[in-house]
Amino acid sequence: MAAEDLTAEVFTRLLEAFHRGRGPERHLTAWLFRTADHLVADHHRARYRRPEVALEEAWAAAREEERSDVVVQERVREALEHLTPDQRAVILMRFWMDLPLAQIARELEKSVGAVKLLQHRALAALAKRLQDLRSDHGAA
């Protein structure tokens, strides 16, 4: 799976960065997020140039609930791409990594208040983007 390969690649890059003496001296999580961000963007650009054919059979075999989850995940992923890097980092750390606000603030070198503001704006932007997607494709 591409996500798992990309995750492994992130840590390999961390290893190489340390080997070159350019590894993060602090804010390791933020460094990993930025690297992952770049890798994902590169991956999507490459996929855009070499489109893959969906596995129709696998899709047909999936249950309705699984299909719905896949649709939601795809929409959320697409909506996340429209956030700023800081907003995306806050959302991912908060909702998918369950990090407390204080730790997120430390990683991003921002105040807790700034992180709350980023979170608020990111959720508002996500809501608007998901609403637009829903309008384009019909309710999930």
């Binding site: 190489e16 995940q73 809501a127």
Partner: protein
């Protein structure tokens, strides 16, 4: 805005604790879209990596680590490793360069200069680090010589020149001699001509150092052998003035020493009235002041005109005479060193002059 963010935080907490989305959204209707987005984020949370992926990732990680370790070039670390400290090194070099420049500038500074404090601090450190008694004495001598050079340079910078007077050596306390009633600092570099001793008459050439101290350049003993010279014509006032025990009549054309046996302790070498025979500091660059209509002595009050040669604290040197400036002194025209001024002063019992009025005369 901050309140809205706090409400959002509270709503998210409720969702995490299992409260129904619609209930929380109903409680915070303005945040409903954001809460639904947050709910979708929870639904879209990606699953953790599979065990196979974790193992493959770990294997790839270790493999890459092994490759990097094998490709490590120890010599590169030796040759280029210092480059990582290049920035810190540059900063350090800059600091050392600035410190060196400051040190050099401080070494050339004189009392009153901005860096003079640094110079003295360095000397204190130097002295404190010199523990050997013999070496410490050498350092102290070197520092004393340095002070001497500073005073000379300072006198030249201020343009105060030197003054010369005659008087008896009334006291010697350490480096401070009292000659003709005037305390003067004597340095090892001071040129001393002839045998000098207490009660010996001497001619002093000195300049005004910092803090108003007189720094002796030369002290020449004057033989006591009477060399009678014709007494100049005196006015009754002058005769009255010289009736006090004095050493050298500065107004007389020739004599540097009078045959008058002057009782030293009362000799008042006041740098004051030109009519008196008291030792009077006078500039060596200019001839001894001659009586002019501008120069009057009215009893205890003395008036004269001359160039303001130096200002050292409350001591002003005007035409070779030191005069004390007090808060009662009326100063007119904002005189500066080099200006021609007119002085009215009152002589104190100890012979010193206290300025009553100083007026700039252009």
């Amino acid at each position: 805005m901050a309140q809205r963010e706090e409400e959002l935080e509270e709503a998210l907490r409720l969702l995490r604790e299992g409260a129904p989305l619609e209930a929380v959204a109903a409680r915070y209707p303005e945040l409903a879209p954001a809460l639904r987005a947050a709910h979708l984020l929870e639904r879209a949370r990606p699953p953790g990596p599979s065990l196979r992926a974790e193992l493959a990732s770990r294997a790839a990680f270790l493999r890459r680590a092994e490759e990097l370790r094998a490709a490590r070039r120890p010599w590169a670390g030796i040759l280029f490793g210092w480059l990582r400290y290049a920035r810190a090194g540059a900063v350090l070099a800059g600091i050392l360069l600035i410190a060196g420049m400051l040190h050099l500038q401080a070494q050339q500074s004189l009392p009153g200069d901005p860096l003079y404090g640094l110079k003295r601090a360095e000397e204190q450190v130097w002295l404190a680090l010199t523990l050997d008694p013999v070496e410490r004495r050498l350092v102290e001598e070197a520092l004393a010589a340095r002070r001497w050079e500073e005073y000379r340079a300072l006198a030249q910078r201020r343009g105060s020149g030197t003054v010369t007077w005659e008087g008896r050596i009334e006291g010697i306390e350490g480096t401070t001699w009292r000659i003709g009633g005037i305390p003067v600092e004597v340095f090892p570099e001071t040129e001393i001509v002839g045998p000098v001793a207490l009660d010996q008459r001497a001619m002093v050439t000195a300049f005004l150092g910092p803090e108003g101290r007189w720094i002796a350049l030369r002290i020449q003993a004057i033989p006591e052998a009477p060399t009678w010279t014709p007494e100049p014509t005196r006015t009754p006032e002058e005769i009255q003035e010289t009736s006090t025990p004095t050493s050298t009549p500065t107004r007389t054309p020739g004599p540097t020493a009078t045959p008058v046996p002057a009782p030293a302790p009362t000799a008042i070498p006041s740098p004051t009235a030109p009519e008196t025979s008291t030792p009077t500091p006078r500039p060596t660059k200019t001839p001894r002041p001659t009586p002019t209509p501008e120069d009057h002595d009215k009893g205890d009050t003395v008036e004269w005109k001359g160039i303001l040669q130096a200002i050292a604290g409350s001591t002003w040197v005007i035409d070779g005479r030191a005069v004390q400036v007090t808060s009662d002194t009326r100063i007119r025209g904002s005189p500066r060193v080099g200006d021609r001024v007119e002085v009215k002063a009152r002589r104190q019992p100890d012979g010193t002059l206290v300025a009553l009025e100083i007026e700039r005369k252009d």
